[in-house]
C-alpha cells in the first residue's frame, strides 16, 4: 500500500469531523498531500482549506499541478508569503494573512472560507505546527489550537494538523494530544 492510500484509508476509518495530529517525515510530504486532497477529500466530496505557514501557497499550487491534483476545490490561507515578501501575483484561491503571528486572523480567514460555502462538507489542513511554533510561544499556540479545533468540530469539519517528526518537541506532542482526537504516524516512505 502506498503512503497516499494508507493515509486516505486511515482518515476514512475515523469518525466524522475528527481532529487529527499527523506526524510526517519530509520525504512523505507530497504523498500525504496526495492522500488527503486527491483521495480522501475527493471521495468524501469535500472542499479543502489548506493553511500554510511553511511554504508559500504558490509553490504548493505548482507542486499540486505537477502531481496532477485538481485544485478546483482547494482554498488556501497563506500566512507566510507576506513575511517572505513573495506574494507576487495573488492567487484567486488564496487569502493572505500578514504573518504567522496573526493567529486570530488565521482563524478568521478559515472561518470566512467555511462560511462562504456553508453547507458543504470541509476539511482543514494546518501545515504545520512546527513552523507556527517558530513564530509563536507555546502558550498562545495551545490556546489557538484549542479554539480552532473546537470551532471546526462544531462546524462538522475535519482538522488535520501536520507535524514534522524531526522537529516535534515533547511540548508540542503534549499539546497536540490534548486538542486532537487522534494522533497518526505512517509506515514507510
Amino acid at each position: 500500500m502506498t503512503t497516499a492510500t494508507q493515509i486516505a484509508e486511515k482518515l476514512d476509518a475515523l469518525p466524522e469531523s475528527s481532529a487529527v495530529a499527523l506526524k510526517i517525515r519530509g520525504e512523505q510530504y507530497f504523498d500525504v498531500i496526495r492522500g488527503i486532497l486527491d483521495i480522501f477529500a475527493k471521495k468524501k466530496e469535500m472542499d479543502s482549506i489548506y493553511v500554510t505557514a511553511t511554504i508559500p501557497c504558490q509553490s504548493i499550487m505548482n507542486a499540486l499541478q505537477v502531481l496532477e491534483i485538481d485544485t478546483e476545490r482547494i482554498w488556501f490561507v497563506d500566512c507566510i508569503s507576506q513575511i517572505m515578501m513573495s506574494v507576487g501575483e495573488k492567487h484567486p484561491h488564496a487569502i493572505y494573512v500578514e504573518s504567522p503571528t496573526m493567529l486570530e486572523n488565521l482563524m478568521l480567514k478559515v472561518e470566512y472560507l467555511i462560511r462562504r460555502a456553508e453547507g458543504k462538507k470541509k476539511l482543514v489542513i494546518l501545515d504545520n505546527i512546527n513552523s507556527l511554533a517558530i513564530h509563536n510561544n507555546i502558550k498562545i499556540l495551545s490556546e489557538f489550537l484549542h479554539i480552532l479545533v473546537n470551532n471546526l468540530r462544531s462546524k462538522n469539519t475535519y482538522t488535520i494538523i501536520f507535524s514534522m517528526e524531526e522537529y516535534e518537541t515533547d511540548e508540542m506532542t503534549n499539546m497536540l494530544n490534548l486538542v486532537c482526537d487522534e494522533s497518526m504516524t505512517l509506515e514507510g516512505g
Binding site: E104, N105, Y112, N137, I140, E143
Partner: protein, 254 residues
C-alpha cells in the same frame, strides 16, 4: 436564582451576527438601547448596517438614521454582503433617512437645541418608527446629535426618553458614538454610556507590531455576556469574531 432566570428569559433580538449573538448569550435583549462606540474606522457603521440587514431579512424592518454622512454615499460604500439585496430597500423593509433633512422639516435649524426641541426631535423619530413598524433602529452618530444638545442634562434627557419610547415599541436600537482611542470613557460626554442599556466597543489593538481590530461588549442589561475582547474581521459574509488570544503572559496584550 429567580432573578437570573427572569433575566435570561427576556426576549432576544438576534443581531444575526453569529459571533456577537454568542457573546450575548442569544442576542440583544429586545428593546435595549445600545451604544456602539469606538475610534474612527473600527467598523461601527458596518456592524450597525449588518444588524439592520439581518433584521430586515427576518421580518424586522430596519431604519438607519444618518447624521454625519449622506445615505446615498453610505450605500455606495456598503460592503457587498452576500445577504444584502437592494430589494430590501425598495420593498420597504429597510429605510434610510438623513437626519439633517428631518431637522429641516421640523424647523430645527438652530445649532443648539433646548429642552423643547429635544422633545420635538424624539417624537419625530418615534412617529417614523411607529409608522414604518421599525423593529431595529440605528442612529449614526449620536455624537453629532449630542453636539447640538450641549448640556449633559439635555443629552441625558434625550437618550433616556428616546430609549424608553423605542423600547415601548419593541424597537432595539444601536446608537453610534465616536471616541478617540486615548479616551478613558466610552462616549464624548460621558453620560451616554451610563444611560444606554448596552455598550459595545470597537477598537484597534497593537500587539508586537501587528494591528488587530477588536470588539468588546462592556455592558448589556438583561443578559449575561462575555466581557472578553474579540478580534473582528469585516467580510462579505458579515462580521466575523474570534476570541483575542491571551497566550499566558505575552507582553503588549493591552
Amino acid at each position: 436564582m429567580l432573578g437570573r432566570d427572569a433575566r435570561d428569559r427576556r426576549e432576544r433580538c438576534k443581531t444575526g451576527i453569529e459571533g456577537l449573538d454568542n457573546i450575548l448569550n442569544g442576542g440583544v435583549p429586545r428593546g435595549n438601547t445600545v451604544l456602539v462606540t469606538g475610534s474612527v474606522g473600527t467598523g461601527k457603521t458596518s456592524l450597525c448596517l449588518e444588524f439592520l440587514v439581518h433584521g430586515s431579512n427576518s421580518n424586522e424592518p430596519g431604519l438607519y438614521v444618518s447624521v454625519t454622512e449622506p445615505c446615498d454615499k453610505l450605500l455606495k460604500n456598503i460592503i457587498p454582503y452576500d445577504f444584502f439585496d437592494e430589494s430590501l430597500i425598495t420593498d420597504g423593509k429597510l429605510h434610510f433617512i438623513d437626519l439633517p433633512i428631518v431637522y429641516e422639516r421640523l424647523g430645527l435649524e438652530k445649532a443648539e437645541f433646548d429642552f423643547e426641541e429635544v422633545a420635538i426631535l424624539i417624537s419625530a423619530i418615534a412617529s417614523i418608527v411607529h409608522e414604518l413598524g421599525i423593529k431595529r433602529l440605528v442612529i449614526d452618530s449620536i455624537t453629532s446629535v449630542c453636539y447640538r444638545l450641549k448640556s449633559q442634562e439635555n443629552i441625558r434627557d434625550f437618550i433616556l426618553k428616546l430609549g424608553s419610547v423605542l423600547s415601548e415599541m419593541g424597537c432595539t436600537s444601536f446608537l453610534v458614538s465616536e471616541i478617540s482611542p486615548a479616551e478613558e470613557r466610552y462616549s464624548l460626554y460621558g453620560v451616554e454610556e451610563a444611560i444606554a442599556d448596552g455598550v459595545i466597543v470597537t477598537g484597534n489593538l497593537e500587539r508586537r507590531g501587528d494591528l488587530l481590530r477588536t470588539l468588546q461588549v462592556v455592558k448589556m442589561r438583561g443578559t449575561m455576556h462575555s466581557r472578553a475582547k474579540y478580534v473582528l474581521d469585516l467580510t462579505t459574509v458579515g462580521v466575523l469574531l474570534v476570541p483575542l488570544l491571551k497566550g499566558g503572559s505575552v507582553a503588549g496584550g493591552g
